[in-house]
Amino acid sequence: MQTNLIQRFSFVSLITLAALLLFSWPLFISAQNQSEIQFAQLAFIILMPAILILTITEFTSGRIDSRQLAMLGVLTAVNAFIRMLGAGAAGVETAFFLIIVSAYVFGSGFGFLMGTCSLLVSALITGGVGPWLPFQMMAAGIIGVGAGLLPKSKRIWLQIGLMILYGVIGAYVYGALMTLWNWPFLAGVGSDVSYVAGAGVVENLVRFLNYEILTGGLVWDTGRAITTSILITVTAPALLTTLRRAANRAGIKKF
């Protein structure tokens, strides 16, 4: 059990590290291979799904039973549906609160799967499948893993407060990750807000922040943070009871 936990922990940290690298490569790329960046992009677009599949295998293969799976399917459906309702208005992102709350109840493995599946299913339903999808799935999965690791408190208001705080941070992190993904594609190379190969992390981070602000990314992130925290505030007390009750009744374990 102990070794299992250690393995799980090291796996999750490695995955997170790999994923973050695949998102943030423009910050780190060195000067000499400006010419190969196109190829590098291709490599990253292929590596991300590979890592995603590995992670999903780690979390599901032989470790998930039909109850957890059905719960996952149903909550994902609910989330995809809610996401469709919220789509359209700028910055309104209604998918995150359910990921966070269910990850908090069912654990970080569930959180990862819930994050990835929610975005996958809503893309499949609305037709939003694109090269960004694996990246979105991974970003949402990471948010889910984090929510599952939040400390458990005895007081319900503290639990909800924690989730709200996490929701706000998560909303900005998700936004930053996705902007990082489209940054090299949309800003190209050569302007004051493009990344410069070999310029160093700090320099590139500043350029990225400028890009994020000037293209309005922060507005969207703020919208996402506000919707997520409102939804958690309103629904979490009831959701926690409902989900925990369901889990106890069917004997669903955290994973």
Binding site: Q32, F39, L42, A50, V74, G130
Partner: protein, 317 residues
């Protein structure tokens, strides 16, 4: 619902592989010609094979156009250095300082070369989007779930459940909404709860019925995983992820065509495949009606690969 596809006898995996090849080609091409070829080929195949092609591809086409325009707009908005180049458009140069490091230059001069570059970059993204759009129109991603490797079978099942269930939720919400009005409080946060909780409770209750039904039909009947096997699995996945990190780091510092880099990339993919293989081998599952790759699939894939090779050698420019 699925009957409207005509004459599309290709294997769904073929379509998605073709889309991947198209993306790879788009990523490496540096001129308009190959991109246009991919774009036109995508559109033509949808128009030939899908009856309602206009409706199915509209979303992707719009998205592609938006991306192309955004890319162009960013080219104009953000100043790109254009020394020694023919200037197409001279706009006043603005300077904005957000207090973060160097000030950002906006507008200013726009060179023909910059417009060219923006069109190629924008078109590249647009073509990638279009290629995926075509694949998901001609071979619905939900069909693809049948061909997922056994290692991700569980998650594919969860996704299938979710896709089947999501449309039913809207009827469920309608029903609860109408019913909730009978309680007499139809405003504020209470209304939100009176809607979501019954819907969710129902959904959760249903999920447990579903789980029971799946289990009684044998779902989750993996062969016993031996301790050694699961240890190997863990080790291989860890190795694969670690190799990915190393490969990424090497790409970033040494470049993609460095020997060490290619070795690390290949090894990480090999280990991923090993992981999938091992977890496949523990399962006893079979599948009904899995199509096999046919002659025409192989032919098309060969053409795709040849096209990629031609573009990578710069024969089509």
């Amino acid at each position: 619902m699925n009957q409207k596809r005509m004459g599309n006898e290709l294997h769904p995996v073929t379509w998605w592989t073709l889309a991947l090849i198209a993306i790879a080609t788009a990523v490496i091409s540096r001129s308009v010609a190959p991109l246009l070829i991919i774009g036109i080929a995508s559109l033509v195949s949808v128009m030939l094979l899908e009856k309602n092609w206009a409706r199915s591809i509209r979303l992707y086409a719009t998205l592609a156009a938006v991306v192309l325009l955004t890319r162009l707009a960013f080219r104009v908005l953000f100043n790109f250095a254009s020394a020694n180049q023919d200037i197409a458009l001279q706009l006043p140069l603005l300077e904005i300082d957000l207090g973060l490091g160097n000030p950002v230059h906006l507008l200013g001069s726009l060179s023909y070369a910059a417009i060219d570059a923006a069109i190629v970059d924008g078109l590249r993204l647009a073509v990638i989007i279009l290629a995926i759009g075509v694949a998901s129109t001609l071979a619905k991603p939900s069909q693809l779930l049948k061909y997922t490797p056994a290692a991700v079978y569980e998650i594919a099942t969860a996704v299938t459940i979710a896709i089947n269930l999501a449309p039913q939720l809207s009827t469920s919400i309608q029903r609860v909404k109408q019913a909730a009005a009978l309680r007499g409080r139809s405003h504020g946060l209470g209304a939100m709860r009176s809607l979501t909780i019954p819907v969710l409770e129902d959904a959760l209750e249903n999920s447990m019925h579903l789980a029971a039904s799946m289990a009684t039909r044998g779902f989750g009947r993996t062969g016993e995983t031996s301790l050694a096997k699961s240890l190997w699995l863990r080790t291989f996945s860890l190795t694969s992820v670690a190799l990915t990190i190393i490969a990424t780091y090497l790409i970033l510092t040494l470049g993609l065509f460095n020997g060490a880099c290619i070795a690390a990339l290949t090894l990480s993919l090999v280990f991923s495949v090993l992981v999938l293989r091992i977890s496949d081998s523990q399962k006893i599952r079979t599948a009904l009606n899995r199509k096999k790759l046919g002659m025409q699939d192989v032919l098309l894939l060969t053409i795709g690969v040849a096209f990629f090779y031609a573009v990578s050698r710069g024969w089509i420019a």
